[in-house]
Symmetry: C2
Subunit: 204 residues, 2 copies
């Protein structure tokens, strides 16, 4: 598993000419780091005003951030596994008409699975950014730069995941799936921009 | 060292309430992943048009990307080490006037060192983004989403590093250092935005 590699080795794997791990896993990782940084700020002993209200808000944000981080961390490997399935499907035999049909169906199934992973990364990035507004409003002021970095990473992760959704959709033939997912990804990216702006405003 | 940890463990370290590793190391990591993805696309057997010109341009970009990735990877640990020095300096004794002077000087030295690291992350992110324009123009078209993710990560890394430069500058008393570094960081972030826009236009 990629997340069991050392950071140094994962960087080497990203840099090698093998197509995986690629941008999809990198996007999931960026968002996972963003969620983790928000967890850190939510867990600091100090809060914005030292009030019970701050503590309660940060405590309530923590489980959602932990859930997002776990799903985003899982997506680092899931994205690479899903892409490897697409490559494997393209390599299926295509001698007979039956084989061609089976291959086409396998490719389409694999492409949809490979699209669902970055779509999930976008969803979890939005979820973590929603919690970022809580952390920005109630977290310790001296950790503002950590929250700012988290927001930047979650935006980059969601932007990168959107690029991966879009590139897969180009090869997907099911028009209904394509339309639904394209619309959802567009909406999610707009939401990311809007929430990030709100969270950054709260940091000031 | 942080980069010798597994990815999973580094994520846990980011999420813990310990102040390090924090946003500075996370920014360096994001840019390191961005540089690594560009290395991957530059190393792919296929290029934009399959021309010798493409191959030569990508081969020329590779060493700079490798250099940037190495420096950015080193900055993941350097940022945390530098911040730990700042914390240690604040803990120095301050009973006598002499101790107070020595402590103040140590804090200022540590703060400048802790500012130089994210400034270096910004510089290397710019360097990698310059190569991203080459990779975008000459790299294999099917890897465009990887280049797009790399650009997003390098922008996030530079943005995050700028937040860390700025927060340190607030506590630095040397007006000349403060002015010089603030201006450089501002210029670097503008450059990041301009080059990223150029690289993204070349991808289309």
């Amino acid at each position: 598993m990629l997340i069991e590699l050392t950071v140094k080795d994962l960087l080497s794997r990203f840099s090698s000419s093998d197509p995986t791990p690629g941008g999809g896993s990198a996007s999931a990782l960026a968002s996972a780091v963003g969620a983790a940084l928000l967890q850190m700020v939510a867990a600091l002993p100090k809060t914005r005003n030292g009030s019970d209200d701050d503590r309660a808000a940060l405590a309530a944000a923590a489980p959602a951030l932990d859930g997002s981080r776990r799903l985003l961390t899982g997506a680092v490997d899931a994205d690479t596994a899903a892409y490897d399935q697409v490559v494997a499907a393209y390599k299926l035999p295509k001698a007979s008409a039956e084989e061609q049909d089976a291959r086409k169906a396998a490719i389409q199934r694999a492409l949809q699975a490979a699209t669902d992973v970055p779509l999930g990364v976008m969803q979890q990035s939005v979820r973590a950014l929603e919690e970022a507004t809580i952390v920005a409003a109630h977290g310790y002021k001296s950790a503002s730069s950590d929250v700012g970095v988290a927001i930047a990473l979650l935006m980059a992760g969601a932007t990168g995941a959107k690029l991966n959704v879009d590139v897969n959709l180009e090869s997907i033939t099911d028009a209904s799936y394509r339309g639904t997912v394209a619309a959802e990804a567009r909406d999610l990216l707009e939401t990311v921009g809007a929430i990030a702006e709100r969270a950054e405003a709260l940091l000031r």
